[in-house]
Symmetry: C2
Subunit: 706 residues, 2 copies
């Protein structure tokens, strides 16, 4: 198989370079690499076209160019009318050409910076014309030519659209196979995403993905530069960490070194030979939470950041990746700042003022630079309780109204009393007949079905005053007689309302009506009746409950009745410390803050516990950790005891942030080599089985333990 190629290559090199590049000559590289004939030979078209008799080789494949070539002089996107008259050397991908006159062709040449129009004039000679005709689309070429301004009526608005380059020579650097699995520049004939993921190296050639990656790099650099200018120190934390008690979603990494050498722990107390047999594992971090707290506790730096890879072993979520990227930060000495600014309705009543400030500065800078949008000098702050009450969500989309109401007190007495007994309240969502943008949405079948499924009652007043109630619990519903409800909500003909009940103290991420509110907006937008404002709505949500009644589905350190709403290192609001120790846990609010954009959580963080005694109380008395679980936090507790400063931090989801800035729904569009929702990498074909002999080196084998 290699014989003809070998012989051919040798001949081609001789033909192309034998004379023009004697080994010792210090002359400049020949600009055209021999004659067009030689180039044609080196880039032999298919056999059918070799009838001119000049091509000795019978191979019908075009060959890659492996010999020297000169440096390009410009990017394809960087030329403009001011370059007219210049000789240029360009490299790029050749897009489909078209004949525009007698032996006169146009070819667009593309690189990641843009596209330039090549003109191949008849005067270039028959050989080059033939070469150009034979080069497959998406091949890489090097051309030399002269820039000229386009005729006024042929100018295009994009960069480089005012010029064209009349080529004098063309060298095929690498031919693309024909046919390609798909042609990336043919935007209208793209195959399904799964197929494109298998050929990601071709898909990334599309300008939109290429542009996303370039934008991601620009934003990352903006973030780093801003943080650097504000005294943040970039520190790399370990990727090979220890598995933690909340390890349910962790990736483990077996290591062969520990299989032959006793490890830290196994060398203490255990029979060394036994210890040798036990496989040992690192774990990949779900976030650098513990390392960053230890770093700040050390005092080595007082402002840390890292654009950090994090890992989570869970599938089935459409837009999750097993590896994802966080803009991770932590600051020592975070404070309450000026108390005057912290009063009133829109108040930041917790610590972490410095975190809030740097994040707002960062986000404002990104939006100004990338989007050209000037954001307000400080973002709205809302407590969790207010967010749940008004929007039924802990990450409310405030770009539209449709606020919820708590209406328990307006309901009829028996209903009201029954709710009070159950410690429940009633929330209502009313669409008035005057809210025309939601008019067709209220009639949507999806909305109706969601309401019934989720346990909301729906009340509609027809134009004749008739009241229709739909409820999953029966025709009469949960909230009283139809007329008591219309009275309570002051419903008029044409109005529609939904009612649902929830616990008095809000819990979790959303309420029934919070979800219906979003669905109403989606339906109204789909119907073309609601158009959301273009300006982004940023919002801080604070004062979350520090603890949540343990949910059997949540495996996160939930041995007792309570688990941490976010993580066990979040500090309580100082006003609630007494309640923390008194056991009034439902009332303890945490110094946690979420950053919400248009209803999406794009970041979250907290002031941490720096008091070892308090941290131990939370571990032992509240979360009721097992001894082994507590042991894994010993280094953190000891670090706090060594004079750790008060500190707090935040992490922004960088993939999601970039997806928003790139205006795409899928974070896969802003990741160079993403995995599918199921965690498979269709390009690299991973994960994959491994030879059992390899596993043996780690002292593991397939199969369940007996």
């Amino acid at each position: 198989m290699c014989t003809p190629a070998r012989a051919l290559t040798a001949r081609v090199i001789k033909a192309t370079f034998g004379r023009s590049l004697p080994a010792r000559s210090p002359k400049p590289w020949p600009r055209t690499f021999g004659t067009a004939a030689a180039r044609l030979q080196s880039a032999s078209p298919d056999g059918a076209r070799s009838d001119e008799g000049r091509v000795a080789d019978k191979s019908n494949a075009l060959k890659a160019h492996n010999a020297p070539f000169p440096q390009r002089s410009h990017h394809c996107g960087s030329l403009s009318a001011k370059d007219a008259g210049s000789s240029v050397t360009l490299t790029g991908w050749l897009l489909p050409g078209r004949k525009v006159g007698k032996g006169f062709y146009f070819y667009p040449l593309k690189d990641p910076h843009g596209t330039v129009q090549l003109v191949v004039p008849a005067t270039v000679g028959a050989e080059t014309l033939e070469l150009m005709r034979n080069i497959p689309v998406e091949s890489t070429v090097l051309v030399e030519g002269l820039v000229s301004e386009r005729p006024q009526n042929q100018k295009r608005p994009q960069p480089g659209g005012d010029i064209e380059v009349t080529i004098s020579s063309c060298t095929l650097l690498n031919p693309a196979e024909q046919p390609l699995p798909f042609v990336p520049s043919d935007e209208h004939n793209l195959p399904a995403e799964e197929f494109r993921l298998r050929h990601r190296y071709l898909d990334l050639r599309r300008s939109i993905l290429s542009g996303n990656l370039q934008k991601r790099s620009r934003v990352a650099h903006l973030i780093r530069t801003t943080l650097h200018d504000h005294g943040f120190v970039e520190v790399e934390t370990p990727v090979l960490l220890k598995s933690t008690p909340e390890g349910a979603r962790e990736f483990l990494v077996p290591t062969r070194t520990s299989a032959s050498t006793p490890s830290v722990e196994s060398s203490i107390g255990a029979n060394p030979r036994e210890a040798c047999r036990e496989p040992h594992f690192y774990a990949l971090p779900q976030s650098p939470q513990q390392p960053k707290q230890l770093l700040i506790a050390s005092g080595a730096v007082d402002r840390y950041y890292q654009i950090a890879k994090c890992f989570r072993d869970e599938d089935g979520r459409k837009d999750r990746q097993p590896e994802f990227t966080q803009v991770d930060m932590e600051m020592a000495w975070v404070s309450w700042g000026d108390r005057a600014a912290n009063a009133g309705d829109n108040a930041w009543r917790i610590g972490g003022k410095e975190v809030r400030e740097i994040i707002e500065r960062l986000i404002r800078k990104i939006w100004l630079t990338v989007e050209g949008i000037e954001l307000p000098s400080s973002f709205t702050v809302m407590t969790y309780e207010e967010a749940m009450g008004r929007f039924g969500s802990d990450k409310p989309d405030t770009r539209f109204g449709l606020e919820l109401q708590l209406v328990t007190d307006r309901l009829s007495v028996p209903v009201k009393d029954a709710f009070a007994n159950e410690d429940q309240v009633a929330e209502a969502l009313v669409v008035r007949s005057t809210d025309t943008q939601y008019k067709s949405a209220t009639k949507s079948k999806q909305l109706y079905e969601a309401a019934m499924r989720d346990g909301a009652d729906m009340v509609r007043v027809l134009s004749d005053g008739t009241v229709k109630v739909a409820s999953s619990v029966g025709s009469s519903g949960t909230f009283g007689t139809p007329h008591s409800i219309t009275d309570a909500l002051q419903l008029q003909p044409g109005d529609t309302a939904w009612l649902a009940k929830r616990r008095r103290a809000p819990e979790g991420g959303s309420t029934v009506l919070g979800r219906l509110r979003l669905l109403l907006s989606t339906e109204a937008q789909a119907a073309g009746q609601l158009v959301l404002p273009a300006a982004p709505h940023f919002l801080w949500v604070t004062e979350f409950p520090l603890f949540t009644r343990a949910d059997p589905d949540k495996e996160f350190l939930a041995n007792g009745r309570w688990s941490s709403s976010h993580h066990p290192f979040t500090a309580p609001m100082w006003e609630d410390i007494e309640k923390l120790y008194d056991g009034r846990l439902a009332e303890v609010r945490g110094q946690h803050y979420d950053l919400v954009l248009n209803g999406m959580e794009i970041g979250g963080g907290s002031v941490r516990v720096h008091d070892a005694e308090m941290q131990e109380h939370i571990f032992t008395e509240i979360l009721q950790l097992h001894e082994q679980e507590k042991t894994s936090f010993n280094h953190l507790l000891h670090a706090l005891r060594c004079g750790a400063p008060p500190h707090g931090g935040i992490a922004l989801g960088f993939d999601r942030l970039m997806a928003i800035l790139c205006k795409t729904e899928s974070i896969r569009d802003v990741i160079a080599f993403p995995k599918t929702g199921a965690g498979t990498d269709l390009l690299f074909k991973s994960p994959a089985p491994v030879a059992h002999g390899v596993l043996q080196q780690y002292n593991i084998r397939p199969g369940s333990s007996s």
Copy 2:
């Protein structure tokens, strides 16, 4: 256990904030948090000192401050004489104080930016004085005070050494336990490294490590900014990749998702139920080589960089880490540049000119910024053959002479002929009596033993002209009679020489005399007779042999007689392509380049094969890969076939680079949370065994496969 703490904390909060911070008052935070008495109470000293009767609590522990405190106004290191007269709020770690007069104390206060001298005057009051006396060293405090210029004779040269801060109040933020495992500021009494690694959060508080981390961040930022300014796009490549044929040193990552869902491969052709049982793995990359080539092949970006985490599962090397950091780069369209510059002795005769340029620019910028050293505008280039001939090393330390000579032709005829028959040559290293800086080194016992062990002959001419020969093969040695040798090397009384033989075409990283040369230098430096120049010596080594005779110890894709010297993607020099196809593999030189600094390899890279046909020839005909090994490169081959541009890249070892810039021998000193040479993390206690029930979720279990 928690009852007293609970009660205490509640009381302390009331005492400190009950009155001064009513919940709705929009006043500024109180600057002193109540009276000194309240502060003393919140930071209760031990019981013995509560005799003043003001402290109700009997607890003898100092408490952490969990309530609000104001923002610091300055860093400890940022104050100078121009701030004299300013009121400041400072936070930091309290170092040991000393009494300097009647009730008059000095305390250094330290943060990552520097140290400031606090003056506690008698006028501050008895309570604060007592608090200060009781605060354990390394506790964190917040102080308020007034800056004043120090008396001229007390000024110190370090930042802030010209001022002191006379405090008016002090709040203990977090007490350090007593005694600490060690006191980081007590540089002269540090315990062994292993102990400090266990308490890394204390060790990092040492100024030297803190300074290293800050310098690492500055250099990383300098690198990013320079690359960004030169059009490089930062792209994150996957950490969860596929295991590769050279996987011998790879970390595997089992995944539970693939255990329940059929994977990419297993879903094709295999019995789905069987496929479900087989455990599936990702692998961590040893470098982003394949992703970065695919990225450049795609054309999404034409200049890529990443400061990338890489992973290698091998222990036993003292200064290796299982995870390490590379400055990783790849560029499309790398060329040969101007041929005129590529001629002569010091010539860069390969492609990758653009890589060379950006690296030289980057290194020059780093050395200028960090070290204040202006490096030459271009670095010396040396071929592998020259480096091996003159220095016996492929990473020569050119800061000192002692060049080797090839002396085969000068030896007596039978010796010369015997060597020629074996395709061997003789290398010699001569220290003349006039080379006084090596005088005592030549007599070193270590050097003698190394020579005998390594098979070199040693020839010494005594002052009376007597010739002494030492050889491990017997008294007469390998290189002829003593006098034929002294004639050949023109040795004079007082001269010493070593001779050794090696293959005519140099192989590997060093020769016998190359190693002896380094040892001579080390011994001469240890003896204080040789002082190496302070200026760094940068050097490019190029034109390495592309293939190496397969070494059974090297598992890297070595099925045939040949393996790749670096990796199988390195392009041959274009002059040697004919030899590549003809099978004259020993003569094929690669377009590989190593960057060497003072005898250390700090980076390496190459121009890659972009010709799919050539790459396939290398895989199949030269390396003789098995079918399965070849399959794992299918995506790369196909990417080349889709019109990949010519490309090349490089990776710099960032940990080593930083160790050099931080002037430390150990890369552990420039990593926040390093592992030991054996790969164990003494702080996080990893790797560690994992419960067998957890392993079950991955369909693996302990033990060897049967």
